[in-house]
Amino acid sequence: MKFKNLIVYWRTILRVAEITLRHQWNDSFILFAILVQPMLIAILALFMLRGSGENYAMFVVVGSGLTGLWSSLLFISGNSINGERWQGTLESLVAAPIPFEVIIFGKNLANVVQSLLSMSTSYLLAALLFGYTLQMSAPFLFTASVFLSIFAFISFGLIIAPLFIMYRGIQQWQNAMEFPVYILAGFLFPIALLPNWTTPVSYILPPYWAARALHETSTGEGDLQKILLAWGMMLIFSIVDLFISSKLFRKMLYKARVDATLETV
């Protein structure tokens, strides 16, 4: 890939993200998924775990933010291609000279970044409503974990979107995929509390490694080795996801041009 192309792609990703954010900001469903629902989860968890200590409050803050991230990825990024089809803009995007996955990358970036808001609102809730004094134990490592998590979530979203288009049977399970990942990825409580047979399932979920890195760097409970393992796993998953998604996008777009489904819902 030429360096000039990379600059063009990166510029396009940022522009797509900017426009997507501005376009979505008036959508009440999106506001619910990224702000209201994580806030409700945070309030519920903070009430249930009152008296468990400041560290656990931080765990809940980060965990409820992760629920916002996952919901946003599953519903908003997962449906992003269908959304374009409903608006009649999909044909213009497919016929653009820029690779289609670059456009979807930009849209996922917008969704993931805006859902980080839910983490900030949970933080404010814990501090203002429940009176916790929350301190980030390793702010630099936490920031690096946030960036890697963003990349891992975006890459994972790039697999979900074309899969939802090609295999509508999977999309029918969209709602059923929301809460199991909250549990299996250890967003709100450690997966050590789950039966042993669920652990391998958690390990193959990129959100689990993101949750691990974010929890360990925010609560200070993990050592550097564990953090590096989580980062490494996120990187590996991201690269694999990007590779698979490029194949899926190529297959999906060719199939859509054969089946004439770019316009029809």
């Binding site: 000279p97 820029i98 054969v258």
Partner: protein
């Protein structure tokens, strides 16, 4: 030099029905279509609904894969070289969809400019120019949802010109526009023609094709039934006259009976509020009027006129009087 070459294009749509016993239903939208468009030419594609016009345009715009045939744009194969073709073309499909309604016109254009490799500095200059070209100067900051249908259609033109393509595919761009909006839109097309763009225009409106296109292909049931200049096409009906009869609440069976009369060459109808206008093409001209009136016995009849045929009449005859 030919900018667009279509040879023996064939495209089939397949739909699956049934849950247990799945059946594949095939519809051959384009059977065997061939035509060329020269550089800088404004070429019209005319045909009734379902004739295969939009399918042909979508194949050319790289949005559909053909089942057979060869389609080249500037010598590039639309399947193998789709990405290169996309840099050279722009397209508009009729209707209001295809824009982000919750964004302003300027934001829509900025967004599409980034997808079409337009340098930000260039797009900053070009967007106001394009808004002026399509008559939306001073309205660019408004959200698209408040635009009229005509304004949205003109914004589509601005969108498609962002990357300054040499080739434009306009699929029924004036459909649904009011007469003033349609006239303004035709003016925009004329401006594009004067800039030496190669344009493929599909339309239902014969006068539009007559006044704009250098050559016209008439497509029916997925096949080209005629291809020539508008004036040459009119010669198909040179020996005919058109009898126009205004009727009120005519029975469709009577229309079928008239169509079968030996001196009737082609017949089409046009609904006008509560009236139906019968357009009968015949070699007998005014002499056919008494027989036609006789076949409408007992029905309320209004104005009856006999006139010279137009391109529309040629089109009606070519597509078998179904328009």
């Amino acid at each position: 030099m030919n900018t667009i070459e279509v040879k023996n294009l064939r495209r089939i749509y397949r739909a699956t029905t049934g849950v247990i016993r799945r059946k594949v239903k095939e519809v051959e939208a384009v059977k065997d279509v061939s035509f060329d468009i020269k550089e800088g030419e404004l070429f019209g594609l005319l045909g009734p609904n379902g004739a295969g016009k939009t399918t042909t345009v979508k194949v050319l715009a790289t949005l559909l894969i053909p089942d057979a045939g060869e389609v080249r744009v500037k010598g590039l194969d639309i399947v193998k070289d789709a990405n290169e073709v996309r840099k050279q073309i722009g397209f508009i499909f009729g209707g209001e969809r295809g824009l982000y309604w919750r964004l302003s016109a300027i934001d829509n254009l900025r967004y599409f400019a980034s997808l079409y490799h337009v340098d930000p500095e260039v797009s900053k200059k070009r967007i106001p120019e394009l808004l002026e070209l399509v008559g939306l100067k001073g309205r660019g900051d408004e959200r698209v949802q408040g635009y009229s249908r005509g304004m949205k259609q003109r914004l589509h033109v601005a969108r498609t010109l962002l990357h300054d393509p040499d080739i434009l595919f306009l699929d029924e761009p004036t459909i649904g526009l009011d007469p003033v909006g349609a006239r303004e839109f035709r003016e925009v097309i004329r401006n594009l023609q004067s800039e030496k763009k190669t344009i493929l225009l599909t339309t239902h409106y014969m006068f539009e094709a007559d006044s704009l296109c250098e050559r016209v292909a008439v497509i029916d049931k997925g096949e080209i039934v005629a291809l020539d200049t508008p004036s040459a096409l009119k010669k198909h009906v040179r020996d005919l006259s058109v009898v126009e009869i205004e009727t009120f609440g005519i029975d469709p069976k009577v229309i079928d009976d008239i169509r079968k009369l030996p001196f009737v060459d082609a017949l089409s109808t046009r609904e006008q509020d509560h009236r139906q206008l019968l357009l009968v093409q015949t070699e007998r001209g005014a002499e056919a009027v008494p027989d036609l009136i006789a076949s409408l016995e007992g029905m309320r009849i209004g104005r009856v006129t006999v006139r010279e045929p137009t391109l529309e009449d040629a089109y009606v005859r070519l597509v078998g009087g179904k328009a």
